[in-house]
C-alpha cells in the first residue's frame, strides 16, 4: 500500500513552500492535493514526507519540478461534446455580432481545448476576427500546446468527441500524421498568444468576450474559487461568457451574483 500522509505533514509542507517561495498551497482542495503528493513521493522514490519537505526546501530546481507535478494536466479535445455543441449553436451567434472577438483559455494545459476552439471558430467563419490568449502556470505544457504535437493514440477519442460536438468536417482534416504523433495544422493558432500565467497570483489587464476555465477550480477550495471568479469579473464586460467544467459550479461563489446562467447543463455563464 502507498505511503500515508497525515494532515500535519501537509501543513508542514505548505508552510515550508510559503516561507521559502511565497507560493500558497493552503487553499488547494485537500484530497486531490494529497493525491498529488502521494504521486510525487512515488515518482521520486521518497521514503516519507520529511524527505520531500527537505528537498523542496533546499533544492530550487526540484521545487520547480514539484510545482509542475502538483498541477493536473489531463485534458481532451472537445471534452464534454455537448458543451461544445451548445457553444457552437448558442454562443457563436452572439459572438458573430461583435466586430472582433477575444477568447481566453485561462488554464490551457497542453492545448487540446485551444485547438478545439480554433476549429470551432474556423468552421463558424470567425477565426480571422478572433484573438486567443492561452495561458497556464506550467511552461512545459505551454510548449506542447504551441507545438500542436499529440500522441496518435489519443486521436480516436478526440475525433469521436469532435463528431459529437457537431463538427462539420472530420478531425483528421486538421492534422497530419507522422509516426506515433498527430501534428495539428498550426494555421489554427496563428492568432493565438501563449503566455505563462498564474491564476492565483496573476493580474490580467486585458478584456475578453469569452473565458474558459474548465476543470481547474475543482483543485481549489471555495475561498480561492471565489478570488478567481472575482478576478475574471474584472477582465470582462457585460455580456461576456464564462465557461467552467461540466460538474463545476460558480453558484457558491460570492461573485455568482455578477453572472446569469446562460446554460445550466453546460455550465456557461454570462456577465451581467
Amino acid at each position: 500500500m502507498e505511503i500515508e500522509i497525515d494532515i500535519q505533514d501537509i501543513r508542514k509542507l505548505v508552510n515550508t513552500v510559503k516561507a521559502k517561495y511565497a507560493f500558497d498551497f493552503g487553499e488547494y482542495a485537500l484530497s486531490s492535493f494529497k493525491r498529488r503528493l502521494v504521486r510525487i513521493l512515488d515518482l521520486y522514490k521518497f521514503k516519507d514526507m520529511n524527505e520531500l519537505i527537505n528537498k523542496v526546501n533546499f533544492d530550487k530546481v526540484f521545487y520547480e519540478n514539484f510545482l509542475k507535478e502538483i498541477t493536473v494536466n489531463t485534458t481532451e479535445m472537445f471534452r464534454d461534446p455537448s458543451m461544445w455543441k451548445k457553444f457552437r449553436e448558442t454562443v457563436v451567434p452572439e459572438l458573430a455580432k461583435l466586430s472582433s472577438i477575444r477568447i481566453w483559455h485561462s488554464a490551457c494545459s497542453s492545448g487540446e481545448e485551444v485547438y478545439s476552439m480554433a476549429i470551432l471558430m474556423k468552421e463558424a467563419g470567425l477565426l480571422e476576427k478572433t484573438k486567443f490568449l492561452a495561458s497556464d502556470i506550467n511552461e512545459d505544457v505551454i510548449a506542447t500546446a504551441r507545438s500542436g504535437k499529440y500522441p496518435l493514440r489519443n486521436m480516436p477519442l478526440h475525433s469521436d468527441n469532435y463528431d459529437k460536438s457537431g463538427g462539420t468536417k472530420k478531425l483528421t482534416d486538421y492534422y497530419k500524421t507522422n509516426g506515433d504523433y498527430a501534428y495539428m495544422d498550426l494555421s489554427l493558432i496563428h492568432t493565438t498568444v501563449f503566455k505563462k500565467f498564474d491564476l492565483v497570483l496573476g493580474k490580467q489587464e486585458q478584456k475578453f468576450d469569452v473565458i474558459l476555465c474548465r476543470n481547474v477550480l475543482i483543485y481549489f477550495n471555495l475561498p480561492l474559487q471565489d478570488k478567481i471568479i472575482e478576478m475574471f469579473s474584472g477582465t470582462v464586460d457585460t455580456g461576456a461568457f464564462l465557461v467552467v467544467g461540466s460538474k463545476e459550479s460558480i453558484a457558491w461563489c460570492k461573485s455568482a451574483t455578477k453572472y446569469s446562467t446562460f446554460s445550466f447543463e453546460e455550465k456557461i455563464y454570462r456577465k451581467l
Binding site: S32, R36, V72, S249
Partner: protein
C-alpha cells in the same frame, strides 16, 4: 443511535441491477448519505442517474464540485471525474489520472470517505470486472469502518468482491438481499 454516518458502495460490470435493488430498498428518511462509485461509460454523461432514480427510495444526484453532503441522498460519481469526500461535509471532483483504468475510481472515493468518516463509514463492494475498490476497502477497514463484500458466488462478475476479500479481513460476505438488510440495520 447508530454507530455510523455514511455508506459508500463500489461496483462495475454487473452491478447495475444490484445498486437498483439496494436503492429501492432504502427508506425515504434513510439517515446517511450514500456514495456510489460505479464504473460507467466514459462519455455517456446523462441517463444513468435517471435510470437509477426510477426505483430508488431516496433521491439520486451527481454532485457538483464543492456541493454540500446531506443525509438521505445517494450521490453518484459523475462520468469522467473522480469523486472525493472532503473534510467539512463537501465533495470535490478531480480529473486526475485514471486508477486501474477507471475514472471515477472506486479506490479514491473509498479512501477519501474513510479519511473523513473513519470508523463511522460502511463500505460495500459488489460485482465488478477488475480489482478497483480493493485498496479502498482496505482503507475503510484500517480506519475501523464496517466492510462488506458481495458473496463472490452470487456476483455476476466476482473479480471485484474477490479482490476486496483478498485485500483485507472483510467483516461480512453477504448475498445482495442480506446486504440490503445490513444497510437498513446499521441505520437503526
Amino acid at each position: 443511535m447508530s454507530n455510523y454516518k455514511a455508506i459508500v458502495i463500489g461496483g462495475s460490470a454487473g452491478s447495475f441491477p444490484l445498486i437498483t435493488k439496494i436503492l429501492a430498498s432504502l427508506p425515504k428518511n434513510y439517515p446517511f448519505p450514500v456514495f456510489l462509485a460505479l464504473h460507467r461509460l466514459k462519455h455517456v454523461r446523462t441517463g444513468f442517474v435517471e435510470a437509477l432514480s426510477i426505483k430508488s427510495g431516496i433521491p439520486v444526484i451527481e454532485p457538483n464540485d464543492k456541493q454540500q453532503i446531506k443525509p438521505g441522498i445517494a450521490y453518484l460519481a459523475p462520468s469522467n471525474y473522480h469523486m472525493y469526500i472532503e473534510p467539512g461535509n463537501t465533495f470535490s471532483l478531480s480529473t486526475e489520472e485514471m486508477v486501474k483504468f477507471s475514472r471515477p475510481a472506486i479506490d479514491l472515493t473509498f479512501e477519501t470517505a474513510s479519511n473523513v468518516y473513519r470508523d463511522k463509514l460502511v463500505g460495500v463492494i459488489v460485482s465488478g470486472a477488475n480489482t478497483d475498490g480493493a485498496n479502498g476497502i482496505a482503507f475503510v477497514k484500517k480506519r475501523g469502518g464496517l466492510t462488506i463484500a458481495q458473496d463472490p458466488q452470487e456476483a455476476t462478475i466476482s473479480t471485484m468482491p474477490d479482490g476486496a476479500i483478498k485485500a483485507t479481513q472483510i467483516d461480512h460476505i453477504l448475498k445482495i438481499d442480506d446486504i440490503v438488510k445490513k444497510l437498513i440495520e446499521v441505520a437503526n
